[in-house]
Symmetry: C2
Subunit: 218 residues, 2 copies
């Protein structure tokens, strides 16, 4: 079934929030029309884009006239309307565990290292390159330290963050690891995360969603 016309994703190749949504769409084999929004050219701040997404952030998904912003809201929506394969376990405890991992990335790591925050640090707080680099490393390390401890010590961790199939947790973790690699973070202290990343990149859904494999990649 082709539903190219139904789903459109407004994103940017390097946005890790858009990367999450691309993985979810791929895992569910949903075809999507990609609309690149170039963040460094400030295309997200245009009036046209803000009519889709008043926060002026990527990604936004449109589906049959519905506009949805916030990557986790988009992915939960996709999981509800296309439940197969599921991105959340069936039991409430498992769902809470998966959401906890996803939110650790989506609330407590990623928003701190967003383009708009780095720009504010530079222009309003006059932080230099080194200070901004330390900032990014600091928040990723805080999150990854917690995730490594949590995943390493848990019997519910399998090949992936929760059991042996990818869930919303991996969908959030893998793009964050790509961001960490982009700023050349040392990841040797996170053997469990590295093992999960390796498992994820054995799946085409994750590989095809990578920033470098997007049509707008530079």
């Amino acid at each position: 079934m082709s539903d190219t016309a139904d789903f459109a994703l407004y994103g940017y190749f390097r946005s890790s929030a858009a990367f999450r949504v691309r993985i979810a769409l791929n895992l569910k084999s949903i075809e999507v029309e990609l609309h690149p929004v170039h963040l460094l050219k400030d295309q997200h701040r245009s009036e046209t884009y803000k009519a889709l997404n008043p926060q002026a952030l990527v990604p936004t998904l449109t589906h049959n006239g519905q506009k949805i912003a916030q990557s986790l809201a988009i992915i939960e929506y996709l999981d509800e309307i296309r439940p197969d394969p599921p991105l959340l376990p069936r039991d409430a405890c498992g769902r809470a565990r998966v959401r906890q991992i996803a939110l650790c990335v989506a609330c407590d790591i990623h928003p701190l290292n967003n383009l708009r925050v780095l720009r504010y640090l530079r222009h309003a707080l006059h932080s230099d390159d080194l200070a901004r680099n330390d900032w990014q490393h600091h928040w990723i390390a805080a999150g990854f330290d917690a995730l490594e401890t949590f995943l390493k010590d848990s019997g519910e961790t399998g090949l992936f963050c929760h059991g042996d199939v990818p869930t919303l947790a991996d969908v959030c973790l893998i793009p964050q690891m790509a961001n960490a690699r982009r700023i050349r973070m040392e990841l040797a202290d996170y053997p469990t995360l590295l093992r999960i990343e390796e498992a994820a990149f054995r799946l085409p859904a994750f590989v095809q969603a990578r920033p470098e494999n997007q049509p707008d990649a530079e």
Copy 2:
């Protein structure tokens, strides 16, 4: 039915993430044992607390041996195990809309103004009181501007963010407004948010969850 022994909430009166969970528990009439974790005394960084929550952040909910961190994961869990009254609408589009609003607060406003971030700004970036105050105002305004536009222009906004009953969206919005008031932000530009706040504080579930009404309030 009393289930005091089943549910325990580790939080801090002033944490707006804990405030969200208190509102959700109250809306669902779930009795809970409160365990204050004093953030300014660094109790969240103790080994005992980190065994509950490796991120060393509040809140954490325990329920029948299950430990759940991340306020939104906790609230979705509560909504699944105690569905009445629901905190998410029944339709996928409505659920996406409510989650989008909630995540706008929980990802893009709150984590930037967290205690740990303000401490980093002060100690690592040597930002003064004025710069930190500007920082807080800036991120709240960015989020509230988007939310006001989104809610004002939408036919789905009712007495509350989504229709006429409180949802996860209001559960996130109201504590963020309390934070804005605490730093004396001018809120006159947000008439829709103010109207929703007024509706919320007509409900005891919101009033009783306020920071100043907690046993550990100072």
